[in-house]
């Protein structure tokens, strides 16, 4: 049940939400649509579900053009950021909704609902109303409701966006495991790159209504196709037209050819990782990611003058990635072509 979108365009008044977007999501995969707000990722997801009508382009589910099909006939499971729980129904009734619409008989519905409540760990809460559940429980109920009807594809729109950090982490681990068990083709929308990399096998990075790049997390990180991907997926320092990852910055105490003079501005200890902020001679602010051991060896202190050598530098001319020099601080893993299952026409 792969999903293909071809040349999707959509405008809301003057705002172009989707500008000739094409994606290809293979059967059984777990794909993240990643991008800042306003990038068109939610609109794309809603168009796949039929909740938005495209101005142009096609949506294919399992090679069938569903562009003209109404939502209720597309057999998609959809999970909303704010749960969209049926407030006047109990947890049981919420999960049973799609089955009642399909006119299943009572015993079968009851069996299926309890099976799903077990799956989402809400067994004891069948008679509660959504208002009596926590955010995480509500979202798991919404997921059970979407899965009850055995959808062809599962679409999640910022599913953990309204939850606090701890619950978020638990739920995303849980979602990944669930996907490993069910193998239903899943697309989920997020603006959180860490979440996308943690959960999804493939990522589609969107910006301003276009697909910037798609591929595995490694590919996006190691071979970003555009400036946007470079700065959105992972941390980055900008040095004029060049970009460098903070962990690719080598800090030396002695003057060195090709290294830039910099002053240590601030040292922030974030557990194992140390964030050291510098200001360069021309006023540019950059930072380096060091380990605790590296920091202790260098004995850095605020106000000190040091020499920075950027390791792997990337610059983008006409959106063609080019590598320049190789830093020794991180091993460079070659891109794995087998992971690049998501292809995107930009």
């Amino acid at each position: 049940m792969g999903i293909t979108v071809e040349g999707a365009t959509k405008s809301f008044g003057d705002f172009q939400a989707l500008n000739d977007v094409s994606i290809d999501v293979p059967n059984g995969s777990l794909t993240a649509l990643l991008g800042p707000s306003g990038s068109g990722k939610s609109t794309l997801l809603r168009a796949i579900a039929g909740l938005e009508t495209l101005d142009g382009g096609r949506v294919l589910i399992d090679d069938e053009d569903v562009s003209k099909k109404p939502t209720q006939k597309r057999e998609v499971g959809f999970v909303f950021q704010h749960y969209a729980a049926f407030k006047h129904m109990t947890v049981f009734e919420n999960v049973a909704f799609g089955l009642k619409i399909r006119k299943w008989d009572k015993d079968k519905i009851s069996g299926r609902v309890h099976e799903l409540l077990g799956l989402v760990q809400l067994e004891g809460l069948a008679d509660r109303y959504p208002s009596q559940l926590s955010g995480g429980q509500r979202q798991r109920m919404a997921l059970a409701r979407a899965l009850a009807v055995e959808p062809q594809v599962l679409l999640l729109d910022e599913p953990f966006g309204a939850l606090d950090a701890k619950v978020r982490k638990d739920l995303r681990t849980w979602l990944r495991r669930l996907h490993d068990e069910m193998h239903v083709t899943t697309i989920f929308v997020t603006h959180d790159q860490e979440e996308a990399m943690d959960v999804a096998g493939q990522l589609v990075v969107m910006n301003e209504g276009r697909v910037e790049q798609s591929g595995s997390a490694d590919e996006l990180y190691e071979q970003p196709a555009t400036e946007f991907v470079m700065s959105f997926v992972g941390e980055v320092n900008r040095l004029g037209e060049q970009y460098v990852r903070p962990h690719d910055m080598t800090v030396a105490l002695d003057r060195d050819d090709g290294a830039e003079e910099a002053m240590v501005q601030r040292i922030v200890a974030l557990g194992f990782e140390i964030r050291v902020e510098f200001v360069l001679g021309d006023g540019t602010e950059v930072w380096a990611q060091l380990t605790r051991a590296e920091l202790q060896k260098l004995e850095l202190r605020e106000g000190q003058i040091v020499y920075l050598r950027p390791g792997e530098i990337k610059s983008f001319n006409g959106d063609v990635p080019s590598s320049d020099g190789h830093g020794a601080s991180t091993p460079h893993s070659p891109p794995d072509d087998d992971d690049a299952e998501v292809s995107a026409a930009v």
């Binding site: 909740l51 939502t71 006939k73 057999e75 909303f80 969209a84 407030k87 006047h88």
Partner: protein, 269 residues
Amino acid sequence: MRATSSARSRWGLRTLGLGYLTVLLLAPLVMIFYKTFEHGLAPPIDAITSPDGLHALKLSLLMVAIAVPLNTVFGVGCALLLVRHKWKGNAVIDAIINLPFAISPVVIGLSLFLLYGTQGWLGPSLSEAGIKVLFSVPGMVLASVFVSLPFVVRETVPVLQEIGTEQEQAASTLGANAWQTFWRVTLPAIRWGVAYGVVLTTARVLGEFGAVSIVSGQISGETETLPLFVEKQFANFNTAGAFGASVVLALLALTTLLAMNVLKRKEDA
């Protein structure tokens, strides 16, 4: 010191509020009840169990039975149109719906009289077809529907806006068509708002005087609703009859208001 002065001002405000309500609302009502039963139960009961009185009561309830369902269906449909289907004409529809609030019922009655009268646009062709609107039940229903039209719309619109569209979208992703979504998701979600509108509509239809008095011709035992009956008894110096019917009307109104409060409490819970 501060606590005492704030307590004092609180009691002052309460006394003022209750006093105001007593003078303006409670005193006249108490007076009606007192006057009605001043000479025992018999005179008012005789008055309202007279054939004309009973007929007036039945006719009033008939108005409620027809006008309230009509305005409920229209009101919910209209609210859905206003909230769920954004359209330039919505502002115009919204303004038109408020007309019955703005126009005096007497004027509404007169305009219906002109439209359906022998000189009106619709009157002649309808009477040729054998349909009598003025001085009969159809005209009175039209007047009742007109004056009570805005309540369900006005109560339903904010509730619809508040519930948003996500639950409806969720229903459609689960396979529900528009009709199933309305009955199983939208209507249950807005039910207390609609019920509140129904109660207000009922109270308004029961009490309507001006518009109905003009289109009905006030024929005793034929086109006389309870408020019209009260007015006629009063004009004919039959105070016992007037008061008795008034009490019945007041009790009906109080029952609907009580129902409204019960519903409101349920909504809050």
